[in-house]
């Protein structure tokens, strides 16, 4: 059985830039904002001396590692760029944690960032340089589960709309979110179609952003300014394209199921719905969040509809999901998203999430899924 990283690594500092259409900010501006907030949070005063390594994650970097080195003026440090679809930020965190657990480093900086709004397109670019796989739009890919799921379990666009409404509401409570706008289910159902069944409000926007974390090895974790937040489990799972997988069931995604099983084993979780206090899950589209409830084992397959109706995943519910408003409110700078989720879970576990604080949260999960989709990353953090 693979080894577990449980309690061997801690987050001792966290930072996050404002997310949005940051027309007047460069990647450098955002990286500096996020990293210096994390430095200050940890009480790390001399990054050049105190940091042993950097893992960064970005999908659209202009230079990647060099952007981080130059933005933060870090000399002669091992800096690695990680790319793994929408799990990019989560995987940068995982690689950093593994390097510490391997005994190589004491203190590692994780930076997730992306600046897609400098490309001049709204949403993903449409490039006609392939023959198969067109239209190549994430909305179209994620929507492929909708027809089958709706027909099998009787859910529909209204359930999806309720997820968008919840996440928009949570986003109004997060100072760094992009969209601070309350919406109604009617707004969602009447918005223009992007890719059936997704209307405009079912989709997360692309945005710019950066987030950063300082990780420490367990035995030094208490020497930092803040109470450490502990890594309980981390997993990244990949698979081939579900669209050509002869055994794909269109009712959920295999990588999430596999990564959840792996993470729960590491963290000793047997009843995720009862044991996990809050979750940040990948809501690139509303259906992604719905299917993820089931793939993560928060409820039985097909039961999401009832839990959505009873507002279980609302901020005041039994298991609040996307407490900061999720991708829906922050947008999705791919490399930053997973790290932004860890930032939110760190604040929540420390009790510092302000008006959106979930009282008594001790175990927090974050989740990304991307590609066709075929890449999943999950992290479970704990207070003790």
């Amino acid at each position: 059985m693979p080894e577990s990283l449980r309690d061997r690594v801690a987050i001792v500092g966290a930072g996050c830039s404002a997310f949005g259409e940051n027309w007047t900010m460069s990647a450098e501006d955002m990286i500096v904002e996020a990293a210096f907030e994390a430095y200050a949070d940890a009480g790390l005063e001399n990054p050049q001396r105190q940091l042993d390594a950097v893992f960064c994650g970005a999908i659209y970097p202009s230079r990647g590692t060099a952007e981080v080195a130059e933005s933060l003026k870090l000399f002669d440090l091992p800096i690695t760029l990680v790319q793994n679809y929408c799990a990019t930020g989560t995987d940068a965190f995982r690689c950093a944690a593994m390097s510490i657990a391997a005994g190589l480093y004491d203190t590692v900086l994780v930076v997730g960032f992306d600046k897609p709004k400098d490309r001049g397109v709204s949403g993903p670019s449409v490039t006609l340089n392939t023959t198969r796989g067109l239209p190549m739009t994430p909305a179209g890919w994620f929507a492929l589960c909708a027809a089958k799921y709706f027909e099998t379990y009787g859910a529909g666009r209204l359930e999806l709309a309720k997820i968008a409404v919840k996440n928009h509401a949570n986003g109004t409570l997060a100072p760094k979110s992009m969209l601070k706008k309350l919406i109604t289910t009617d707004d969602v159902l009447k918005a223009r179609m992007i890719s059936w069944p997704f209307g405009l409000y079912d989709c997360a926007a692309q945005s710019d952003g950066a987030a950063a974390l300082i990780l420490s090895r367990a035995d030094g974790a208490h020497s930092w300014r803040r109470e450490p937040v502990w890594l309980k489990g981390v997993s990244v799972m990949l698979g081939p394209n579900p669209q050509s997988d002869p055994d794909f069931d269109f009712l959920g995604w295999k990588p999430t199921r596999a990564a959840a099983q792996d993470c729960y084993r590491q963290a000793g979780i047997t009843d995720p719905f009862r044991q996990i206090d809050i979750a940040q899950v990948h809501d690139c589209f509303t259906l992604t969040e719905l299917l993820t409830y089931e793939d993560l084992g928060f409820c039985a397959r097909g039961a999401a509809k009832e839990l959505i109706a009873s507002e279980v995943f609302h901020l005041a519910g039994e298991l609040p999901v996307n407490t900061d408003g999720g991708l829906k409110s922050f947008g999705h700078p791919t490399g930053a998203t997973g790290v932004r989720m860890l930032y939110e879970n760190t604040l929540q576990l420390r009790g510092e999430a302000g008006v959106r604080q979930v009282q008594g949260a001790t175990l927090a999960l974050s989740h990304n899924i991307g590609g066709a989709p075929q890449a999943c990353g999950i992290v479970i953090l704990g207070k003790e």
Binding site: P240, S244, P246
Partner: protein
């Protein structure tokens, strides 16, 4: 269209039996590059098939049929597939526009076939009647009355007079006249001048198909041959840069797989004239062709069995099929132990779908979904010819060959799925 007609014609035949393929068209995408070779690939013909393109003249379809008959008669080929396909585009808002149509027709020519060429004769002419210079997007023509008189009446009548003299054929010996025409009026007028009564003349289909260029006389010939009784004679008249007349005798009933009515029933009404202009790239758009993107020629070369031939693989160990072909089996993980499997003529099932309003299209939404390809193989394909039908998972589909885009001036041909009407499924 050429691939669709070819597939329809070859239904039930082994494509490996075709020795030559001749494609007659004036609307190939390329000035230099064989369209017949693309059709051969898409139809899954043998790699050693002889491919010939008959271009430039609307009369090329007659030349191709004549050459096929000669090739079979001389023993150079046992079976020749003749495909003729044209897309006819006139100047927007021109009078000619309403008379034009698009169509493709295919024949297999063999020895001892049910339909036999008895005698033929041609006349060659040159005039600026109707033409399209290199690079022009739509047809140009001289004054209408000149076009009809010297581009149409004169050469057809001359060829008919000569054929009568040489063969002794008379209108009374011919039961069906399959006559190419620029418009409905001159069609009837010429038929009369040639000495035929209305009941001998195959309907010109103006208002239903229109003048479909090199495919026009072949289309009327096919209709006549399907309708004729054994022993009856059909005169087919091809026009364009002169004329070519071919007299055929039906010895036995001719098999067919689909009817014109079935094909016409599949049409989707455009919502506006503007949409027509958009679909034809006449709206000043056509940006995809000028785009700097485009498929890689090397990738397209490597992937042609899959993309144009629609060939997948079947695992020799566990029989799992997959598309596109890959090196490792999805289920048993065996390496390089596959045999090719032809998917184009199969029926499949729509497993899921989305309707995409984001992807550029003259007729949004683009419907795309995962289809089971008549076995365990699956592929994400666009749904062709979608007319707003209610969709659900499990609907039966067939596969059609289409140009997905022409970005960078290099067309990306691939297969789409198309709904099969449920009635047809029950019939089958």
């Amino acid at each position: 269209m050429a691939v669709a007609a070819g597939n329809d014609c070859l239904a039930g035949c082994d494509p490996a039996g075709i020795d030559h393929v001749y494609l007659a068209s004036t609307s190939s995408f390329f000035t230099e590059k064989s369209a017949a070779a693309i059709v051969a690939k898409a139809l899954g013909l043998r790699p050693d098939v002889v491919t010939v393109d008959y271009g430039s003249s609307l009369r090329g379809s007659a030349t191709a049929l004549r050459a096929a008959v000669s090739a079979v008669a001389s023993g150079a080929a046992r079976a020749v597939l003749v495909v003729t396909s044209d897309v006819r585009t006139a100047e927007p808002y021109s009078a000619m526009e309403a008379d034009l149509g698009d169509a493709a027709v295919a024949f297999v020519i063999e020895a001892d076939a049910p339909l036999r060429l008895e005698v033929d004769g041609a006349a060659s002419r040159q005039a600026f009647d109707v033409w399209r210079e290199d690079g022009a997007g739509s047809l140009r023509s001289w004054e209408d009355r000149f076009v009809v008189r010297y581009g149409y009446f004169e050469p057809v009548i001359a060829a008919w007079d000569q054929l009568r003299r040489e063969s002794g054929l008379e209108p009374s010996l011919i039961q069906h006249l399959a006559l190419h025409a620029p418009d409905r009026r001159s069609h009837l007028e010429l038929a009369q001048q040639l000495g035929f009564r209305t009941e001998q003349v195959v309907d010109s289909l103006f208002g239903r198909v229109g003048n479909c260029g090199s495919a026009f006389a072949p289309l009327l010939l096919a209709i006549a041959a399907w309708r004729a009784q054994p022993g009856e004679r059909i005169l087919s008249c091809f026009a364009g840069d002169g004329a070519h007349l071919m007299s055929w005798v039906l010895d036995r009933p001719l098999a067919r797989s689909s009817t014109l009515d079935e094909q016409l029933k599949r049409r989707i009404m455009l919502r506006s004239y503007r949409q027509y202009l958009k679909c034809r790239g006449l709206d000043g758009g056509g940006a995809d062709r000028k785009s700097a993107d485009g498929i890689s020629a090397t990738v397209s070369y490597r992937d042609q069995d899959a993309d144009i031939g629609f060939t997948g693989v079947r695992c020799r160990r566990c029989e799992t099929e997959q598309f596109p072909p890959a090196r490792v089996c999805y289920r048993c993980f065996a390496r390089d132990d596959f045999e090719p499997v032809a998917l184009a003529r199969r029926r499949g099932v729509l497993l899921s779908y989305s309707k995409d309003y984001f992807f550029p299209s003259p007729m949004p939404p683009v419907v795309a979904g995962v289809c089971a390809l008549g076995g365990s193989a699956r592929a994400y394909l666009q749904l062709a010819d979608y007319g707003g039908e209610e969709l659900r998972t499990g609907l039966p589909v067939e596969f059609v060959f289409r140009r997905i885009h022409a970005s960078g001036g290099r067309p990306a041909w691939f297969w789409k799925s198309r709904l099969i009407a449920l009635q047809e499924v029950h019939d089958a």
